[in-house]
Amino acid sequence: MGKAFGFFKKNILLIIVLLLALVPVAGVPSYQFYIIERGLQNAIIVLSLVILLGYTGLLSLGHAGLLAVGAYTFGILTVTYGINPWIALMVAPVVAAALGALLGIPSFKLSGPFLVVTTIAFGEIVRILILNWEKLTGGPYGLGGIKSVIPSAKGMYYFLLVLVFLVSVATMRLSKSRIGLAFKAIKEDEVAAEVMGVNVRRYKLLAFTISSFMAGLSGALFACLTNYLNPDSFTFAESATYLLMVVLGGMANVVGAVASALGVTALPEVLRFMVRSRMVVYSLVLLLVIRYSKSLNMKTLRKVLGKPEGSTLGGGE
């Protein structure tokens, strides 16, 4: 039993991906299909927060702004300048990463609420600039007619699925790599990390850059899925929702992040219940999870796996 469970645990990601691969052929209705795609696209930005918050301990409530940058870059390049969508798909995350790196600089000096407020301000500034820079972004009229990189619905779905899988694996690898360990050292104790030779500034910048790159990618995919962009999609409420997803998923847990993104985005629509009150329920669940996270952690772990606290359980996926 233990052995089977171990195999299961190790390959849980693969199993999920295989299950998801069945969706296009299971005859899922078009709207639910679309919403699962959105869940997959959200998974990527949630994973970006796993790296930034889960690994490095830096809280951002402005990630919708980075999503916007990725989305609009893709949209503007393909629609206004007629650039090949694949090239645009590669450029968008880079632009987002560059901007995100800027956001990394305040993180050198600021921490806690000060940093969070900065990220909120950043998100809002991006949104207002997009709203007013009509020439470039279409402003409130939005930017429409965006074509996806892969026009076929099924093709796009599988592309997304593969991307999510690759990004998940990469994130897990990152976690165990030297960079990942540096991130975690910073999260644990910045001063101690510095003392031990970790260039805190450099790694914080790196964390923001990588995270923003992924957010930008997620944004470009968003543009592909919705074919239309409007500043309303990139508000503080969205940033807060991504935070909700990453915490519900376990903050540093890759599989949890993917599950959480899919669950929060798609579940009510697919199961057709709780659609109106979903945010109240989710935030309530989040409140409870946070409140009881300590006691749950200790009790559940001890009971289920019979191992003493402090062993390397569930660490570093």
Partner: protein, 395 residues
């Protein structure tokens, strides 16, 4: 964190999704033509049930539902082959938000309707129209931005008149009835309000008018003192206020608070909403002029009959401009009576609609798919709307 519980939750989620997906299997597939012996006319209505348009979203749905209920309670209607047809009406929340309008449109399309109504806002129409174009479902939209029917989408129709017509009559009223010489404008930075301003600006040279002050604001702004004070300083004798209901209400109220109660206000449909009057305070609304497609103060007996019926049924004051979908439902019924439940035929009939006498107006389709061609202005006096002037347009 608690890995095992996460894993279990995940598994349940996955299985549930796949199962739910399978159970919904029969509904999949987009190009199913509704056959001749189907007995249900499915109408999906994208309406703003939440968000800043929610105050009249409810009324739009009520108006449409009133028609649906009237028809169904009479036992449905008869199709071209003698079959009885009833209407299945579903409202879907498009949240007043352009991006969610796309999601809502997709949801509506997955219900496999024969025709759709809405979305309400031009932004939503522009955002989502390719969804119904791809699905080949004729859609009667709201929205007043002139661009919405110019996207080359043969499935888009409009139960509203474009801003190009809303504004000229408003300016005409301002000049002819109120002798306005120094207009100022404040508009919101959204596609709807901007389009209104653009249409107004185009009309002004005709009356040799030039705006003495042009102010803008962001949706969601609470405070307009800066803009209003600038307008006051410019010596304007009238303000054209464009925006959505919450902002219009706030602006109208704030202008009196800043001592500008004597400056005339010309605005349009967002302000015909009773919620705008409530927000501004009825006493601050006196003498506000709006342009509208339907004035509750219109002495025409047909209009009065409708207003009375609506207010009796729903026990609330009617808003001026969002209730035309009552006629949309009847138009669809009369079309289906003739050609049956065939989307392409419905679309064609809509495109060729001529002189259809509805409860609220006479409708006909121009080459862009606009169905409404009349306009009115009204003024708010002693707590009630009074009609000022009405015009029909050629098309």
């Amino acid at each position: 964190m608690k890995k095992k519980s996460v894993v279990l939750l995940l598994l349940v989620t996955m299985i549930a999704m796949v199962l739910a997906g399978c159970s919904g299997g029969e509904k999949a597939g987009g190009d199913k033509q509704a056959g001749g012996d189907e007995q249900v006319l499915r109408i999906a209505h994208l309406a703003p049930l939440t968000g800043s348009a929610a105050s009249y979203g409810v009324q739009i749905v009520q108006a449409a539902k009133m028609a649906v209920e009237e028809i169904n309670e009479a036992g449905g209607f008869t199709g071209p082959n003698g079959e009885t047809i009833k209407i299945e009406y579903t409202e879907i929340d498009e949240t007043s938000n352009s991006a969610s309008a796309i999601d809502a449109a997709r949801k509506a399309v997955s219900l496999d309707p024969h025709a759709m109504l809405g979305p309400n806002r031009s932004g939503g129409v522009l955002a989502a129209h390719s969804v119904w174009q791809e699905a080949k479902i004729p859609t009667i939209t709201d929205g007043t931005s002139q661009d919405t029917t110019r996207q080359g989408n043969p499935y888009t129709f409009r139960m509203q008149i474009s801003s190009e017509y809303w504004m000229p009559i408003l300016v005409k009223t301002a000049v002819e009835k109120y002798d306005v010489k120094k207009p100022a404008v404040i508009y919101g930075l959204n596609d709807y309000s901007k389009a209104n301003w653009v249409a107004t600006e185009a009309t002004m040279p005709e009356y040799e008018l030039e705006p003495v002050s042009v102010q803008t604001y962001n949706d969601g702004d609470q405070d307009f003192s800066a803009q209003l004070i600038a307008i006051r300083d410019s010596g304007a004798d009238a303000i054209f206020v464009y925006g959505y209901t919450p902002e219009c209400g706030k602006i109208i109220r704030q202008r009196t608070e800043l001592g500008m109660g004597d400056v005339l206000v010309f605005t349009e449909r967002a302000s015909t909403d009773p919620a705008a009057v409530e927000l501004a305070g009825a006493e601050n609304f006196e003498e506000v002029v709006t342009s509208t497609t339907l004035s509750p103060g219109d002495p025409d007996p047909k209009v009065q009959a409708f207003v009375k019926k609506f207010e009796e049924k729903y026990n609330q004051t009617i808003s001026g401009t969002h209730v035309n979908h009552y006629d949309s439902v009847y138009i669809l019924k009369s079309i289906v009576e003739k050609v049956g439940l065939d989307r392409e035929k419905i679309r064609e009939e809509l495109a060729n609609l001529k002189d259809y006498e509805g409860a609220l107006a006479v409708y006909g389709s121009d080459e862009e798919g606009n169905l409404v061609h009349h306009m009115a202005t009204q003024v708010f006096r002693n707590g009630k709307w009074e009609l000022i002037m009405k015009e029909e347009y050629d098309y």
